[in-house]
C-alpha cells in the first residue's frame, strides 16, 4: 500500500509541477498577481509530495518489502540498517528520486527564504525550477519507476553490492547531488533573468549564495567520493580520471568559474553575459553528468541502445534544456550590455583569467571524456583516454591558474599594479624560494616535477596568508588596529583566504603523495617482518571473524619505528554472501607525516598471505585542504550581505564528513 501511495504522490507531484512551470510564468508576463502568487504554494506542495514519495520508498527499504521490485533487486534482510537506508539511493531509480527530492527542496527553499526577491522574478525562477522537475518526474514515472511491484514477492532480496556497503554510500551521493542540483538554482535564476532581460548587481547578489552553497556541497561530495575510493578499492588510488568522476568534476570546474565571475557582476556590473552563460553551462554539465552516468552510455555506446526508452528520453531532455536555454540566451543576451570597464591588469582581469583557464580546463575534461564515445560512434575506432592524457592537458592549464590565484586578491579593481602586488607578497615569494630549495635538497633524486609542485602549493598558501596579513595591516599598525580590522573585514574576503590556502594544501598533498609514495607488495608468512622506509612491519597472523552479512579474515600487523611500536594495522578481507563477493578493507593509520596503508589479500595456500603496504606522505593534506575549501565557502556564505536568503548556511557538511571519518576509521 505504501508503495502505491508513493507512486501516487509522484504522479500528483508531476501535475503540480506542470502547473508551477506554466501559470506563474504566464502570470509574470501578464502581470496577474494571482497567478504569480501560485508559484510559492505550488513549490511547497510539490516538495511535500516528493518528500512523501521518498519516504514511501525508504519505508519499503527499511521494512524489507520485497514485493517492491526495486527493494528486491537491491536490498537484503540481513543488511545493517544504515545500508538499508542508504541503499535507497544505491541504485538507478532510487538515486533519481533522491535527485528529485533535492531539486524540490531547493525549490521550496526559494519559496520560503526568497522573500527578498521581487514576486514576478521569484515566480519565474520557480517556474523554471518546475520545468526541470517536470522532466525528471516524467523520466522517473515513465522509464525508471521505483515503485513497481514484483509478484510473487521473493523470500529475500538480492542484496546490495558489497563495495557499496560502506558509510561512504550514506554521505557521498547526497552531497554530490546537493551540489549538482544546487546549480539548478543558478540556472533558474539565469533563465528567469534572461526572460526579464535584466542582469544587475542585485541579481548577482541573489545568485551568489546559491552557487556558493552548491559549490560547497559539490566540493565536499567529490572529496568524499575520492576518499571513499581511496580506502575502499584497496590500491590507495583516489582519482582515476574515470568518466564518472569527470562527470562530477566538470560542473565543479564550471561552478568554480561561475563563483568568481558573479563577483565581477556584483561588484563591477561587468561580465554579465558571460556569467549568465556560465550559469547555464554549469547546470547543463550537471545534467550531462547525471545522465552520462545514468544512461550507461559511458560503459559502451551500445549500452545506450540496450534501453532505448531511457536513452532517447535523456537525449530529448538534454536537448530541450540545453538547447532551449541557449536559444533564449542567443536571443536575449545581446541586449544586455556590460557596465564597468577595466584594464587587463586588475582584479576583474584576474577573474577573467581565472574564468578563461577554468573554462578551457573544463572543456578539456569534457573533450577527453566524450571523445572515445564519439570516435567509437563515428568511426568504430576504440581508444581509451586515461590519466596520462589528462595529466598532459589539464595540468598545464591549471598551473598558471594556480600561480595567478595567489596574486589575484592583491590586485585592485579597475586598474591594478602587478609588480606592486608581487612586491606586497614578498614574504610569500621568499617562502616559495625556500620551499623550492628545501625540496631540492631533501628530494634531489626524486621526480623533478615534484619540486616545483611543492613550491606551487607553498606559494598558494603563503600568498593567501600574506594577503590576509596585508588586509589587517598586521605589524604595520598597532595590534589593536589590526584586531579592529579583523572584526570589520568582510567574511567573503576570509572565505577567499581559506579556500585559496585549502587549494594550496590539496596541491601539496597530491604532489607529495604521488611523488614519494613507497609501496611494498609481498607474500608474508606469520611472524615475518618487512622494512618500508623508516617503518618495520611485522605480520602477527590472520584470524577469521564474522560480520553481520559477511565472513572475513583479519590480519594483524605491528608497525614499529626505531624499535618502538607505533601502530597495529588490522586490514580485513571480506567475503560477502549476498551477492557473493570479496572486498578489501584497508587499514589506514594517519600520522603527522601521512598515511600507512595496509591490505591483506588471499592466502597462498602454504600458510602465507598476500599483503600490500603503502606509505603515502602528506596524503591527508588533500582531505584537509578540501575541508578547508568548503570551510572557506561557508565563511563566505555567512557574509553579512548574504545572510538574508541563504538557507543552505549550515554546518552539516563538515560534521557529516567527520562522522564518516570516524566510522571509516574503525
Amino acid at each position: 500500500m505504501t508503495a502505491e501511495l508513493g507512486h501516487y504522490a509522484l504522479v500528483l507531484a508531476l501535475s503540480v509541477a506542470l502547473v508551477q512551470a506554466t501559470l506563474p510564468l504566464l502570470g509574470a508576463w501578464r502581470g496577474d498577481p494571482g497567478w504569480i502568487g501560485l508559484a510559492r504554494p505550488a513549490a511547497l506542495v510539490q516538495c511535500l509530495l516528493i518528500v512523501a514519495a521518498f519516504a514511501a520508498l525508504m519505508y519499503a527499504y527499511v521494512t524489507s518489502d520485497f514485493s517492491v521490485l526495486n527493494v528486491a533487486t537491491n536490498s537484503h534482510s540481513a543488511k545493517p540498517m544504515l545500508y538499508k537506508i542508504a541503499g535507497v539511493w544505491g541504485n538507478h531509480e532510487g538515486s533519481l528520486l533522491l535527485w528529485l527530492l533535492i531539486l524540490a527542496l531547493f525549490g521550496a527553499a526559494v519559496a520560503v527564504f526568497g522573500g527578498n526577491l521581487p514576486a514576478p522574478f521569484r515566480a519565474r525562477v520557480l517556474a523554471v525550477q518546475a520545468m526541470i522537475g517536470v522532466g525528471f518526474l516524467a523520466f522517473v514515472l515513465f522509464t525508471s519507476n521505483p515503485f513497481v511491484r514484483l509478484l510473487p514477492a521473493p523470500l529475500d532480496g538480492r542484496g546490495l553490492n558489497p563495495l557499496l556497503q560502506d558509510p561512504g554510500l550514506a554521505f557521498h551521493p547526497p552531497f554530490l547531488y546537493l551540489g549538482y542540483v544546487g546549480f539548478s538554482m543558478a540556472f533558474s535564476f539565469a533563465v528567469a533573468a534572461l526572460i526579464e532581460g535584466r542582469v544587475d548587481a542585485a541579481w548577482a547578489r541573489w545568485v551568489r549564495p546559491w552557487t556558493l552553497a552548491a559549490w560547497c556541497f559539490l566540493t565536499l561530495g567529490i572529496a568524499m567520493g575520492a576518499w571513499w575510493a581511496y580506502y575502499e578499492l584497496g590500491w590507495g588510488g583516489w582519482w582515476f580520471w574515470d568518466p564518472v568522476e569527470n562527470a562530477s568534476f566538470m560542473p565543479w570546474l564550471a561552478g568554480t568559474a561561475l563563483l568568481h565571475s558573479t563577483i565581477v557582476v556584483e561588484k563591477r556590473d561587468s561580465l554579465k553575459n558571460w556569467t549568465v552563460l556560465l550559469a547555464i553551462v554549469t547546470f547543463s554539465l550537471s545534467l550531462l553528468g547525471t545522465f552520462l552516468v545514468r544512461s550507461g552510455v559511458l560503459t559502451s555506446v551500445h549500452a545506450f541502445a540496450t534501453d532505448p526508452t531511457r536513452g532517447v528520453f535523456i537525449l530529448a531532455f538534454l536537448i530541450a534544456v540545453i538547447g532551449g536555454s541557449l536559444t533564449l540566451y542567443a536571443v536575449r543576451a545581446p541586449a544586455m550590455k556590460g557596465g564597468g570597464l577595466f584594464a587587463p591588469v586588475s582584479r576583474e582581469g584576474g577573474l577573467v583569467l581565472n574564468n578563461l583557464l577554468l573554462s578551457t580546463a573544463c572543456a578539456t575534461v569534457l573533450l577527453g571524456t566524450l571523445y572515445p564515445l564519439f570516435l567509437d560512434a563515428l568511426t568504430g575506432e576504440k581508444i581509451t583516454v586515461g590519466p596520462p592524457y589528462f595529466n598532459a592537458t589539464f595540468g598545464p592549464l591549471m598551473v598558471p591558474a594556480l600561480i595567478a590565484m595567489a596574486v589575484g586578491p592583491m590586485l585592485r579593481w579597475k586598474r591594478g599594479d602587478l609588480l606592486g602586488a608581487v612586491q606586497r607578497l614578498k614574504f610569500a615569494v621568499i617562502a616559495t624560494v625556500l620551499a623550492l630549495l628545501a625540496t631540492l635538497v631533501a628530494a634531489h633524486d626524486g621526480p623533478w616535477l615534484a619540486i616545483p609542485g611543492i613550491a606551487l602549493g607553498v606559494w598558494m598558501i603563503a600568498a593567501s596568508v600574506e594577503e590576509a596579513a596585508y588586509r589587517l595591516r598586521l605589524f604595520r599598525v598597532p595590534v589593536g588596529e589590526s584586531a579592529r580590522r579583523l572584526m570589520r573585514s568582510p567574511r567573503s574576503a576570509w572565505g577567499t583566504t581559506f579556500a585559496h590556502a585549502g587549494a594550496g594544501m590539496v596541491i601539496i598533498g597530491i604532489v607529495a603523495s604521488s611523488a614519494w609514495q613507497v609501496e611494498k607488495l609481498q607474500v608474508m608468512r606469520q611472524g615475518e617482518s618487512l622494512a618500508m622506509g623508516p617503518y618495520e612491519i611485522k605480520f602477527q597472523g590472520a584470524e577469521p571473524i564474522d560480520g553481520p552479512n559477511y565472513s572475513a579474515v583479519r590480519g594483524v600487523f605491528r608497525v614499529s619505528r626505531n624499535g618502538a611500536e607505533i601502530a597495529v594495522l588490522e586490514p580485513e578481507s571480506r567475503n560477502y554472501q549476498d551477492p557473493p563477493m570479496e572486498t578489501t578493507e584497508a587499514a589506514i593509520r594517519t600520522g603527522w607525516g601521512g598515511d600507512l596503508y595496509a591490505v591483506i589479500g588471499d592466502p597462498t595456500g602454504d600458510g602465507s598471505w598476500s599483503t600490500r603496504f603503502y606509505n603515502k606522505p602528506m596524503i591527508h593534506w588533500i582531505w584537509i585542504g578540501c575541508l578547508m575549501m568548503v570551510f572557506g565557502g561557508l565563511v563566505s556564505l555567512s557574509d553579512r550581505r548574504h545572510r538574508v536568503g541563504a538557507p543552505a548556511r549550515r554546518d552539516v557538511p563538515v560534521k557529516a564528513a567527520k562522522t564518516a571519518a570516524s566510522m571509516a576509521g574503525k
Binding site: L169, A229, Y389, Q522
Partner: protein, 161 residues
Amino acid sequence: MLMVVLRRLVLAICLMGLAAPAWSIAVDTPLDDPVLEARAHAIHKQLRCLVCQNQSIEDSNATLARDLRMLVRERITAGDSDDAAIRFIVVRYGDWVLLRPPVKSGTVLLWFGPALLLILAIIWLVISYRRRRPPLVASTAPLSADEQARLKALLGDGGPT
C-alpha cells in the same frame, strides 16, 4: 565514486561470470632484478585493465589484469625494450589498451583541441575587450596652449594666490 565503484564491479561480474569471485587479491611474484621490475611497473601504469573502467593494470585486482602484468614481465625478461613490450600488447588488444591514446589522425582533435580552444578563447577575449573599450585612455600629449588657458579659467583664473 559510488558509480565508479559500482560500474567497475558490474563490468567485472558481467565479464567473468557471476558465481566466481572476480577479484583475486594476490601479490604477483616480482622479477628478481629490481631494475627490470621497476620497468615493468612503469609499463603497467600505461596499460588499461581490460575489464575495468579506466584503471591501469597496475591498480587492478582483476585476474585478467594480473595475467597482463605477468605477460609484461615475461616480455621484459625476454629482452624486449619498453616500447616493444607495449607494442606486443597493443598488437593483440588494440589501441584501446593504451591509457595514453596515441597521436594519430583520429585523435588529432583530442590532443590539440585544448590548445586550440585556449587560443580561440584568448582571441575572442581580446576582440571583445577591444570592441567594448571606448578610447578611455586618451592621448598623454601635453595640453595645447588653448587647453591650458581653458583649464586655468576653470580652476579659477589666476592660479595660486
